[in-house]
Symmetry: C2
Subunit: 155 residues, 2 copies
DNA sequence: TATTGTTATACTCTATAACTATA
DNA sequence: TATAGTTATAGAGTATAACAATA
């Protein structure tokens, strides 16, 4: 059945009026974040790494011997949710738990040898991906401006 | 038990080195988005509105008589996930489904009278919230710059 | 008493496949 | 055959409460 004139006027693909939400910072942040995470996935699927896994490895790499609670806090994650993340990375032999000498409730986290090589690869993938993102927004000055604005939002 | 000197050096609250992830656009986007959504929640808890519900109401308000599939696409949502959202708003008598005259598979969406008043309130809350966000990042020029950068990321 | 890692659990958001009724 | 709305379901991400071991 063909659409009536009234229906055409009402539902034609004349694009919707999205002006009310288009300038909402939170809305646009959410869309940009979804978009960049999808891109992240295409870059990191080969390594089987999710965003939180990459940032955890990177953090352990630069801060060996730290406690889970410290890392979780730095990543703004709940301790409880950090546990399965660490389990997964440990089962892949990328990181290891070592007993703490000073507090037997806790332990410290280190990259394994395999983890160090793996992280080096991941850093390369990330550097390529980041270069693409920086180019997309217009260069490093634009990137710096963006990070500064995002930092203000986070405060 | 007190920590040994070695432990102090290794795990003191000397803050972690987060330099590797701090300049990653995706990471900072995710944190900013989480932060602003948490703020959204404090503002909209009184109205019992979540972000997707507000944007859906706003979109229907500016585009009465549209089909769910059109709205879902504009919001970058799956049709399937749009269904319970519409159900919730309809059960609260904020929107209504009307039979389409031209296509009996589909229907069109409208704000109810209650929904119009409710949306007016929500727009006020949103305007206050947005003003706070704009002030936080340094004014409307900063906001425009941010939206432009986010638009480039989304492309 | 308080803290650390952990478990269990629940809720939201998102993605996919398949069904139905229409087109 | 294809499309619109729907259902069912599964996977992530996230939040809270409570427990055992230890401080």
């Amino acid at each position: 059945m063909t659409a009536s004139f009234a229906d055409l006027a009402a539902t034609a693909d004349s694009t919707l009026d999205t002006s009310a939400i288009d300038t909402i910072i939170g809305y646009r942040l959410r869309r940009a974040q979804a978009s960049i995470f999808a891109e992240f996935k295409t870059h990191f699927d080969r390594l089987g790494l999710r965003p939180a896994e990459y940032s955890t490895l990177a953090l352990i790499g630069d801060n060996p011997g730290r406690k889970p609670s410290e890392l979780a806090e730095a990543l703004d994650m709940q301790r409880a949710n950090f546990v399965p993340l660490v389990n997964g990375l440990e089962q892949r032999d990328l990181i290891e738990r070592r007993k703490s000498t000073s507090d037997r409730r806790s332990f410290t986290l280190y990259l394994t040898e395999k983890g160090q090589g793996f992280l080096a690869d991941a850093h390369k993938v990330q550097a390529e991906f980041e270069a693409k993102c920086i180019a997309a927004i217009g260069g490093e000055k634009a990137r710096d401006a963006l990070l500064a604005l995002l930092a203000e939002i986070e405060k």
